[in-house]
Amino acid sequence: MTNNNLDKIKKELQKTKEDLNDISSYLDDFSTFLPIAVCDLSPAGIIIHINKSFEDVSGFSALEIVGEHLTDIFLEKSKINKILNLTRRREIVKNQEFTLLAKDKKEIIVNAFFSARKSKESNLTGYFLGMIDISSLKELQNEIETKVKRKTKELESRTQEIAESRTALMNMLEDVEESRKALINMLGDVEEERGKAEEEKNKTLAVITNFADGLLVFDTEKKLSLINPRAEDFFSVKSGDLVGRPILELSTFPTVEPVVKLVGGEIKGVFRKEVQIGESLILEVSTIPMIRERNRGL
């Protein structure tokens, strides 16, 4: 090899070294600038490099965290190992939610992305992990979910109240319906009783009207409540003039006066006593108490 060739190779080598230094510097600057937290992992899951954003998010410096296993800084340790195995097969696994355990013990929710690093021969040489702090988003999501849950619960409670009110209303309607039926039944009974009473009354009136003797019926207050046609004939009076008057007032009617004198204001018990009415009529008078349940009449 000539000296010229050697010089040329040395110059090329020097140029290559300078290019490599520039690339290294560029990569360092880019890694420092990158707002996403990134780390390199060995195939065993050991952290071997972190960028500036990773330091900022986790609070760990490279000196503190490089050499530690990835599971040491995440809450979901078994899930980390599963995802690394999955990444080995799929090469890229996106959008995995994990809880990063920061240096100050704070738990930070992150969205993580995993990528497998492989050699030309497709042998696994490690992994890249990128992650974004989504704590604020998660907090907002949790707040919204809590609100939705609370509102849903309130709505369920209101629905329950309405359902209970409806049931209560339906029960009330049933009660009212039953009461209505009971009232109708009662009205039927009353109507039936009233019919019976009317029938009895008509029968009694028929008996009284057609009775051969004269009848004067007084109520418990000693007022005339009935006078039959035969008695009207005996006393030459009209039922309408006498009915409703107290017995003592009946003495104002001359034909009735003798009878009033005989029985008195209190309607004493009399049995077949004769009374002279006018010049040609002698009546035989008897008083009989009428007992209807607890009341007494004449």
């Binding site: 410096s61 490279a62 050499g67």
Partner: protein, 204 residues
């Protein structure tokens, strides 16, 4: 924290800087990043000041990951980080582990971390990507019992690097095995009269 703070002398620095061999700037950058994370910008200024005092002024900001720099400078910077941060052996061990965590090359080196066996087999290639001297030799790998034995040959700069490498190998083993408990022992060491450094690394 180290109770007996050690100050690097000009004589020690000169002796160290005379040892040949180069390393990629990425290794030095990872160590400086560790210092920066531990003590901030003032620590970096302090290291720059000390390098100048010792007669090896370096524009740290201009170190490029792909360029080669003397491994002696890398070791001197580790010694100065230990000095200004007053680190004990535990701190050096942690810095060794941080070297892999904070390496700008970590993004392209992950292909070596596929499995413990692959990492063991590829260790010599891995070494060659960083260093233009010495070598790493995979001696034994036992997956069943969970251990490996590695040798570093033709590497003799400073005993502090034995602790640094223990931290480094421990962190690599943690990454490739995924195990929390890693044990490491330097079973042979050139500073104890052995012909090479040998590390027994086990995990469970």
């Amino acid at each position: 924290m180290n109770k007996n703070r050690q100050i690097i002398t000009k004589e020690e620095a000169d002796k160290l800087m005379a040892i040949p061999g180069n390393v990629k700037g990425a290794v030095i950058l990872a160590d400086l990043e560790y210092a920066h994370q531990k003590g901030g910008g003032k620590i970096i200024k302090e290291i720059k000041k000390r390098l100048k005092e010792l007669g090896y002024p370096v524009d740290i900001e201009e170190i490029k990951p792909m360029e080669k720099y003397p491994e002696a400078l890398s070791v001197l910077i580790i010694l100065l980080i230990k000095e200004v941060l007053n680190l004990a052996d535990e701190g050096i061990f942690e810095m060794g582990g941080a070297s892999i965590k904070l390496s700008p090359f970590i993004k392209i080196l992950t292909k070596y971390f596929v499995s413990p066996k692959k990492c063991f087999e590829q260790a010599p290639k891995y070494w060659e990507k960083y260093f233009d001297f010495g070598k790493i030799e995979p001696v034994e790998y036992n997956e069943k019992e969970g251990y490996t034995i590695l040798r570093i040959i033709d590497y003799r700069f400073h005993p502090i690097i034995c602790i640094f490498h223990k931290g480094y190998f421990t962190q690599v083993a943690r990454i490739v095995t995924g195990k929390k408990v890693i044990k490491i022992e330097e079973t042979k060491c050139v500073y104890r009269g052995d012909p090479y450094h040998e590390y027994f690394i086990s995990w469970k």
